[in-house]
């Protein structure tokens, strides 16, 4: 588990920087090893911890049947818990890009699996906004989030190569071409991508896969006792353990010049669900969630299959939660939390119902977009619960508010209330989520799913899909949180009002594109 430690080179670099901090001036290395200078300001540190694909509906802190997150619950006792928090999309790109830019997917343009955000947003994001006064760092093993953060360029002062912090890595584009990460990543995918049937180079893929098999088997054997279901993997060539990532983050935040901003996007509990041994079987209690009828976008998964996968997902969450607990304990013991805002959230959820598994789907049901948000303020001593609707786009303005920065005009979110920092959220505000993987980027929205949550009503509009050109669903989340009863036909007034809001939003977006 030593691979997760900060490297000697990084340590020496940071040591030199820390000594300069004593002079009131900090010199920070950018990604190319050059240094940048700024006057020290007394500002709080900011840490964002993102657990990938973590659905609020599977978190015991949010009332889930299985006790999946005891450590998060402890942490929440002295934090602000946002009960109705939403992701801006149902997979990493829109969820993460919206979180880091404070804008909806149609604004930043990142709504494709491995897409890019608009050029202008390479400078309109949290890293850029904070990099003048903050030491900024990021960590992720999610290749989509990695591609996104790479676009922020030198505003990210420390962004370690994921290959260096993996048990085993079989991707090389990042290591060989650090100055051209996106194109080289795509080039590598073209010649060897296990998910793609049509490969440009089946020869090399075939040979390299054998080598990967041998190495992974070797490493899996070594850790078989700890991880009986196999080593966790990001499915893009890296096998890793969460413990290493947590170790690296603890080292990094301990040695970083203050104030720092850290964005730590951890892969678990994203599929495949491979927890440590002690978490396997902890939820074998026979409990079953409600069986929901198959959706018209069903993948045909059986209820039994989904229950089994859901149980495994819960185990993986419990494993991630245990590591989160260790992380918090370390931060406390090192005194880092004394001057740090810690934001716990996710980029999107995960689904085990209606015949749909995981999150690659055109639907936007609650399990996919209702995500956790817990914010701890330094010296916060009691829990606060926020029941108003909030969105991931609110995090940027909230952080800017904390750090005394003005909120830019392009930012679409609102400032969140944290503990005793009171702000008034607009109760009537509509929260949107978009799924538009199959729509051309930077083009009019023609094939997409959009959800609008307003008060307790949620409308989902499926537009432009073959066979489903114009479908609407309307749910009353107050009386029907499981989204079982589509009231679109039976509540024409509410349906018309929300439909009008949605159509107006899409028209605005398309007008801007035109």
């Amino acid at each position: 588990m030593t691979t997760g430690q900060i490297s000697r080179r990084e340590f020496l670099k940071l040591l030199a920087l820390t000594s300069l901090a004593g002079l009131g001036i900090q010199r920070l290395p950018d990604k190319t090893g050059n240094t940048i200078s700024f006057q020290e300001k007394k500002l709080p540190n900011i840490i964002i911890v993102v657990f990938d694909a973590l659905s609020a509906g599977h978190i015991s802190t949010y009332g889930y049947h299985h006790e999946t997150t005891p450590h998060l619950s402890d942490f929440a006792e002295k934090s602000t818990v946002y009960h109705r928090h939403y992701a801006a999309g149902n997979f990493t790109m829109p969820g993460t890009a919206s979180l880091l830019t404070g804008t909806y997917p149609w604004a930043h343009g990142g709504y494709h699996q491995f897409g890019t955000i608009k050029d202008e947003f390479q400078a309109k994001n949290l890293f850029h906004l904070l990099s003048e006064y903050y030491f900024t760092m990021a960590f992720t093993r999610n290749p989509i989030a990695r591609g996104l953060i790479n676009q922020f360029g030198d505003a990210v002062h420390q962004f370690p190569n994921v290959e260096e912090h993996s048990i085993f890595s079989s991707t090389y584009s990042n290591l060989l071409f650090p100055n051209d990460p996106n194109a080289s990543f795509w080039g590598e995918k073209n010649v060897r991508d296990s998910f793609r049937i049509n490969l440009a180079s089946p020869f090399v893929s075939s040979v390299v896969n054998r080598w990967i098999n041998s190495k992974v088997n070797e490493e899996t054997k070594k850790l078989k006792n700890l991880f009986p279901r196999g080593l966790p993997t990001n499915l893009y060539g890296q096998n890793f353990i969460l413990e290493d990532a947590i170790d690296w983050i603890i080292s990094a935040v301990s040695m970083a010049p203050q104030p720092f901003f850290g964005y730590f996007h951890l892969f678990p509990p994203h599929f495949p669900y491979r927890p440590r041994r002690e978490f396997i079987g902890i939820f074998d209690d026979g409990w079953q969630p409600i069986q929901k009828p198959p959706h018209f976008f069903t993948e045909g998964r059986s209820h039994e299959y989904l229950i089994e996968e859901s149980r495994r997902y819960d185990e993986f969450i419990a494993y991630a939660d245990a590591e989160f607990g260790r992380f918090i304990a370390e931060l406390k013991s090192r005194g880092i939390l004394e001057n740090t805002y810690l934001i716990f959230t996710s980029d999107h959820g995960e689904m085990f119902e209606r015949g749909i598994f995981k999150h690659v789907t055109p639907t936007l049901f609650e399990p996919l977009i209702h995500i956790p948000l817990v914010i701890h303020r330094p010296h916060q001593i009691q829990r606060k619960d926020i029941l108003t609707l909030t969105s991931c786009i609110d995090i940027v303005p909230t952080i800017l508010n904390i750090t005394g920065n003005p909120i830019p005009e392009w930012c679409q979110g609102e400032i969140l209330p944290i503990d005793d920092l009171e702000t008034t959220l607009n109760d009537d505000r509509g929260i949107f989520a978009l799924e538009a993987k199959t729509n051309a980027q930077r083009a009019r929205l023609t094939t997409f799913t959009i959800a609008l949550v307003k008060n307790f009503y949620k409308m989902i509009h499926y537009k432009g899909y073959a066979g489903y050109e114009n479908e609407y669903e309307l749910y009353d989340l107050e009386t029907d949180p499981e989204e079982l009863d589509n009231i679109y036909e039976t509540n024409p007034e509410i349906a018309a009002a929300l439909r009008n809001d949605l159509e107006q939003k899409v028209s605005e977006v398309n007008l801007e594109i035109d």
């Binding site: 897409g115 030198d154 051209d180 049937i197």
Partner: protein
């Protein structure tokens, strides 16, 4: 001294002449590139959906540079196998045999990749190594058949050599494109940092 010289000559004789290596490379480049270009062209509409033009060019450049590397590797493997096997089996007609065997090997590699891909999606692991070896061994039984046919029917190697001749120009264009791709990669990494 004489013994050394004769063993050197023996080793030298195991390997093809320069002209044969060149023709062999052409025989490898053509089918490998045809395959790669079809796949890349299939991907371009997807890239246009969500990559910038410069990134699309970069992605194609990385792919084609890698394909050049793959062609060099396959050529090397052929030369090596030719040196190890009895000369009449492969080395004597190495270009003609490569012209037939490379497309065959492409099919086998693709078949294995499909199996790997299905296995990865379902079980997050590739097919076991013994299956991989088994498929290649079974797949290369045609090596013996092809070798036999080429030795038995003189017309066949003549036809295959004509085919290699005819694809030479287009293969050289592919190689030129690959070298351009290498330049694009160098340019992107040295001059367009970040």
């Amino acid at each position: 001294m004489n013994a050394d010289l004769s063993s050197l000559i023996w080793v030298r004789n195991r390997f093809p002449e320069k002209q044969s290596i060149y023709n062999l490379f052409i025989a490898v480049v053509f089918p490998v590139h045809i395959w790669a270009i079809i796949i890349v062209l299939q991907q371009v509409p997807t890239y246009i959906l969500y990559l910038k033009a410069s990134e699309t060019i970069g992605t194609i450049a990385y792919t084609m540079a890698f394909i050049l590397l793959e062609c060099i590797s396959i050529t090397f493997v052929f030369i090596l196998i030719g040196a190890l096997l009895p000369q009449k089996l492969l080395k004597q007609q190495i270009v003609a045999q490569a012209a037939l065997l490379v497309p065959l090997a492409l099919c086998i590699a693709y078949f294995i990749h499909v199996l790997d891909s299905i296995s990865f999606v379902m079980f997050q692991t590739y097919i076991p190594n013994r299956f991989w070896f088994g498929i290649w061994i079974v797949g290369f039984i045609p090596l013996l058949i092809v070798s036999y046919l080429i030795r038995k029917y003189q017309r066949l190697p003549e036809l295959l050599m004509k085919y290699v001749d005819r694809v030479t120009i287009v293969s050289l264009i592919y190689i030129f494109g690959d070298l351009l791709a290498v330049l694009v990669i160098i340019w992107r990494n040295v001059f367009v940092s970040g």
